[in-house]
């Protein structure tokens, strides 16, 4: 599995991509693969405040629910409405199918997240149980 080099990652399997003071957030390919067929995404609303480490929505596959945890704090400026009718986009392109875009309140939080190399190492250990 190749994790994009310009993203940062959480141990809860979200990715975040910086774009100036804004960032887009999604779940990793490892996460979609573990969940299986995704059938439902619960999105936050534009204007909601995300706080780092707290849940802001959920992703459901046929067999399980998985909370979404904010990789960083900030105000929601856009949500990917396409996922409401086509949640399976996350299965086919997890690193492209973004879930929310936020206005970062503290860009420094992103620097504390896992690098692609560290995340890759982390999921290999987790998958190896």
């Amino acid at each position: 599995m190749a994790f994009p080099a310009d993203y940062r990652y959480t141990r809860e399997h979200e990715w975040i991509k910086l774009d100036g003071n804004q960032a887009t957030i999604g779940i990793t390919d490892y996460a979609q693969n573990s969940l299986g067929d995704i059938v439902f995404v619960e999105l936050p609303k534009i204007g909601d405040e995300l706080s780092v480490g707290k849940t802001f929505g959920s992703v459901e596959s046929v067999k399980a629910v998985s909370d979404l945890f904010a990789p960083a704090s900030g105000k929601v400026v856009a949500v990917n409405q396409e996922l409401t009718n086509a949640p399976e986009k996350i299965n086919s392109d997890a690193h492209g199918a973004w879930i929310v875009r936020i206005q970062l309140s503290d860009a420094d939080e992103v620097n504390k997240l896992l690098s692609p190399q560290d995340y890759d190492k982390y999921v290999q250990e987790e998958g190896g149980h």
Partner: protein
């Protein structure tokens, strides 16, 4: 057979102490293959108990709720083992192999308990109960094209094997193999019982996949098995049936033959019938966006807690979010609107007829 499953790309999961494939190519694709074409499941985790001896029939009658006297040789029936309270030890398929010879197919998670319970309760009869679970690999080939796939691998005349009947014949070159027209998917299909050794199991598994290729066969895991049985409203132990739920509540009266004579649990069920049930199993369909899942609470429209979901999931074939739940009989009427608490939100659902899915008649 774990080596072959892993090579096929299966995701494995611990299931009642068994390392089992939960899905291969994807739960939805596997589910749809079974509804529209054919799928194959390794269900070797299922247990098998042989009851043999001159009093095998009275023993089976004593420990199970259906009427085994109605079975002919080569016929099977859905039944259950009950506690004296009329609640469930397990649900089983009883196969009549011969006049003094019955095979009970039991669940994996309850195997130990079932075997001990059966041994204890047939003691007074002249018969022997043997746990033969480890002798067989059980493969389930399910779906409208299952008959075509199995037909390529056997000399058995499958058209003569009706639903819930079984026979013996050569399968993949293995003589005297039991072939039963049974399953847990709500679809036509077969379950075959082959020797449990790894090379034989792997060979047959691969031959089934090869024979099914032209019909679009997919190897299927426990995930699809669960959604298929849920659409067909087939009970799962620990969910719809358990040691605290009785036969009337579980809506399984049609498999419980009170008139056949005494059996374990009958007296309690007789009393319970007079008292009426306090809860009953119903089918729910979510009306609002949201998925009701196992354990989620059910509320009346006015907000009173009335019960909980035993199994709930998106239904891949029906493309609805469905659930089975226990509610008081006053809420069991078709069309009754209730709500399900889905992660702090109340989502509307309504009581619908079950089974949710019924296979089209040919």
């Amino acid at each position: 057979m774990n080596a072959v499953h892993r090579r096929t790309g299966a995701k494995m999961v611990d299931f009642g102490g068994w390392d089992m494939p939960v899905e291969y190519s994807g739960l939805i694709a596997e589910h749809m293959a079974v509804r529209t074409a054919v799928g194959v499941f390794d269900v070797s985790h299922m247990g098998d108990i042989l009851i043999r001896g001159p009093q095998a029939l009275p023993a089976v009658q004593h420990i199970s709720m259906n009427d085994a006297l109605r079975l002919q040789r080569g016929q099977a029936q859905y039944s259950a083992l009950l506690y004296p309270e009329g609640t469930f030890v397990d649900d089983v398929i009883v196969h009549k192999l011969g006049e003094n010879d019955y095979l009970l197919v039991i669940n994996a998670g309850t195997r130990e308990k079932d075997v001990n319970w059966v041994r204890q309760n047939v003691r007074q009869f002249r018969c022997h109960a043997d746990n033969v679970s480890d002798y067989y690999t059980q493969l389930a080939i399910q779906g409208p094209r299952a008959v075509d796939v199995v037909g390529k691998l056997t000399d058995v005349d499958l058209s003569a094997v009706k639903n819930y009947w079984f026979t013996y014949g050569r399968v993949c070159g293995l003589p005297n193999t039991m072939v039963a027209r049974t399953g847990y998917t709500g679809e036509d299909g077969f379950e075959i019982y082959i020797p449990a050794d790894e090379p034989t199991s792997t060979r047959v598994w691969n031959e089934v996949l090869a024979a099914g290729k032209e019909f679009g066969i997919l190897p299927c895991g426990l995930g699809a098995r669960n959604t298929l049985r849920l659409e067909a409203k087939m009970a799962l132990y620990g969910h719809e049936i358990s040691e605290t739920i009785n036969v009337w509540e579980a809506d399984l009266a049609r498999y419980c033959k009170m008139e056949k004579g005494d059996f374990i649990g009958r007296d309690a069920l007789d009393r319970a019938k007079g008292e009426g049930v306090k809860r009953i199993l119903v089918g729910l369909e979510m009306i609002e966006r949201g998925i009701g899942r196992d354990g989620y609470k059910v509320f009346s429209e006015s907000g009173d807690p009335i019960g909980s979901i035993t199994s709930g999931s998106p239904a891949p074939f029906l493309k609805k979010n469905i659930a089975l739940a226990y509610v008081p009989p006053s809420y069991s009427q078709i069309g009754t609107v209730v709500s399900v608490e889905v992660r702090n939100h109340k989502i509307k659902a309504q009581v619908v007829p079950t089974p949710f899915y019924k296979r089209p008649k040919k």
